[in-house]
């Protein structure tokens, strides 16, 4: 098998096109690949459709940078900070330009990705019944349950197959086999539904390490297109067992992005003037190291021996 290692710049340049439907993190609040968000902005990608139940401030930054045509998601804002100022400006004032949203709940979006992953014609969901999400998202359709004797409306959610999913993992081998732990959000569904998967690995390990715990794998290496070794790719979001959340960074972003000028200065400082994620880590300096999880609360071993 050939190794799939690439730099973040190479991987995104080769595999993300203007107009693509892209997942940037699928683990809800943790494990958001901000490093990829920043690099897509540097590369000037345009007209992206961002697909995610929740990608914290990542989506707000991309919207502010003018990279987004549409959001297919359940929630956009700044989870620990408040509303997403760029998201609001795009809707309320058309700054930098208007965007479209396909409203979902977390469940309908997760089920849409599951339907994409597993070749289902649609996912039947009950939990949007009565919600105006059914009115504002033209893709959702209500039918009467054909198996029921009484009236029983069901929402049919069409499958979602992103062009690219960028998925941070704690460790991967060069062939795309990876371990992911902690809460899983819709990581499995997103990775299996996407046409291409780009892993951002905190650590690159020998294939034997991954093979020594196959239940820790969420999707197989054969669906992975590129493996990027990029420590702290999730900063300022947390990574289970590795990085704490940089709450002050989210708060600073929230405060500065309140005005368009403030956001532009923030973007210049943290994205445009920073050549790559190595420089970003250097810029964070001891602040990053202070976020490193130092205690060890280790999983007990399990045995996979064949005899």
């Amino acid at each position: 098998m050939e190794p799939k290692l690439a730099s973040l710049r190479e991987a995104l340049a080769a595999h993300v096109r203007d107009g693509d439907r892209i997942v940037l993190g699928a683990c809800l609040e943790p494990h958001i690949p901000f490093a990829a968000t920043y690099e897509l902005i540097r590369q000037g990608r345009r007209d992206l459709e961002v697909i995610a139940p929740i990608s914290d401030a990542s989506t707000d930054i991309l919207v502010g940078a003018g990279c987004v045509r549409r959001v297919t998601g359940a929630w956009v804002g700044n989870v620990s900070g408040g509303l997403g100022h760029n998201y609001r400006r795009a809707f309320e004032e058309g700054i930098p330009h208007r965007i479209e949203v396909r409203d979902h709940s977390n469940f309908s979006l997760g089920m849409a990705l599951m339907a994409g992953a597993y070749g289902m014609p649609f996912a039947p969901v009950r939990s949007l019944l009565g919600s105006d999400i059914l009115r504002s998202n033209p893709e959702l359709r209500v039918i009467e349950n054909p198996l029921a004797d009484e009236p029983d409306p069901v929402v049919l959610v069409p499958p979602l197959c992103p062009d690219v999913a960028v998925i941070p993992v704690q460790r991967a081998d060069p062939y795309g086999n990876a371990h992911h732990w902690g809460n899983q959000g819709v990581v499995q569904e997103a990775a299996l539904a996407a046409r291409k998967v780009i892993l951002l690995a905190e650590e690159i390990v020998e294939p034997e390490v991954i093979g020594a715990d196959p239940n820790r794998v969420l999707f197989p290496g054969f669906v992975v297109t590129a493996v990027v070794h990029e420590p702290a790719a999730v900063h300022p979001s947390p990574m289970t067992g590795v990085w704490r959340r940089d709450t002050a960074f989210f708060q600073d972003y929230h405060a500065r992005s309140r005005t368009r000028e403030g956001f532009e200065a923030w973007l210049e400082e943290w994205v445009l003037s920073v050549p790559d994620h190595a420089a970003y880590r250097a810029k964070l300096g001891p602040r990053l190291e202070a976020l490193r999880i130092r205690r060890r609360v280790l999983s007990p071993p399990v045995n996979y021996a064949g005899d």
């Binding site: 683990c27 809800l28 609040e29 943790p30 494990h31 139940p53 914290d56 998601g73 359940a74 929630w75 956009v76 804002g77 989870v79 620990s80 509303l83 997403g84 998201y87 609001r88 809707f91 309320e92 949203v101 409203d103 979902h104 709940s105 977390n106 469940f107 309908s108 997760g110 089920m111 599951m114 969901v125 009950r126 939990s127 949007l128 019944l129 009565g130 919600s131 105006d132 999400i133 504002s136 009236p151 029983d152 409306p153 069901v154 732990w181 902690g182 809460n183 899983q184 959000g185 819709v186 990581v187 499995q188 569904e189 947390p238 289970t240 067992g241 704490r244 959340r245 989210f250 609360v297």
Partner: protein
């Protein structure tokens, strides 16, 4: 013991959770309320977090989001969002807690758009898991600050379904259970009453009056037949809350 309005609100919410219940827990106030309930009258309540976590015990440290590392350590189950929201849809969740920007007299919640959704005056973050929780939990608790612009006659957009247009309309929409059981504010607790399921004033917090609550409400709020003052926090409740909030964030 002196306490803040926020503390009172958290404790009032905690009282809505019964022991052994399975609770879908939201961030901020709900997570504190869940912690207080567990530490007082509901030691065996189970907490579900839509990012994919289930906990029997409170997290070891301060949480800004439900996926923060202290919530991972010692979790009872670390799984996916579809699994947990699936269990919710399957009827396994007793209580769901959500916040919102607007709630109306039938307990519907808006976290999506103020004004016309096609050209909103304010674009709010959206549902997250709130629509699912509102539709599928056996009881929905809404926590919101009590202001006229927030407690409105009719929300601009129903993100999360309460009793919809009242009466049997929620059931007619296909939802077979649940609905808003209580709206807990910094002034009062509102509960649906009668066949119309309109929210009525069920209890007013210490330091306020029914008239003051009515003045802060965007519809003609009627008195629940069993309306009474909210009992003040007990020593045990406050002590439990302050153990969970050593830095006094909510004080």
């Amino acid at each position: 013991m002196a306490y803040s309005t926020q503390e009172l609100m958290i404790i009032a919410a905690a009282r809505e959770i019964a022991d052994r219940e399975v609770v879908f827990v939201g961030m901020r106030l709900p997570i504190m309320a869940f912690g207080v309930a567990r530490a007082t009258h509901a030691p065996d309540a189970v907490g579900l977090f839509e990012c994919g976590l289930v906990r029997h015990t409170p997290a070891s440290g301060m949480l800004y989001t439900m996926g923060d590392p202290p919530n991972q350590e010692g979790a009872a189950w670390a799984t996916g969002t579809v699994q947990l929201l699936g269990l919710l849809q399957g009827g396994r969740v007793d209580v769901g807690f959500i916040g919102g920007a607007e709630v109306d007299r039938f307990g519907n919640v808006n976290t999506s758009y103020i004004g016309d959704p096609r050209r909103p005056k304010v674009k709010l973050p959206g549902s997250g898991g709130a629509a699912d929780i509102a539709a599928m939990a056996h009881r929905l608790l809404v926590i919101i600050n009590h202001e006229r612009r927030r407690l409105v006659e009719r929300v601009d957009y129903v993100t999360s379904v309460g009793h919809l247009d009242g009466g049997a309309s929620r059931r007619r929409a296909g939802l077979r259970r649940g609905g808003t059981a209580a709206v807990i504010t910094d002034k009062a607790i509102l509960r649906p009453w009668g066949p119309e399921r309109e929210l009525h004033l069920a209890s007013w917090h210490p330091g306020t009056t029914p008239d003051e609550v009515r003045d802060a409400t965007g519809w003609d709020l009627r008195l629940h037949p069993e309306a009474r003052p909210t009992p003040p926090p007990t020593e045990a409740e406050l002590a439990a809350l302050r153990r969970l909030d050593p830095e006094g964030f909510w004080r």
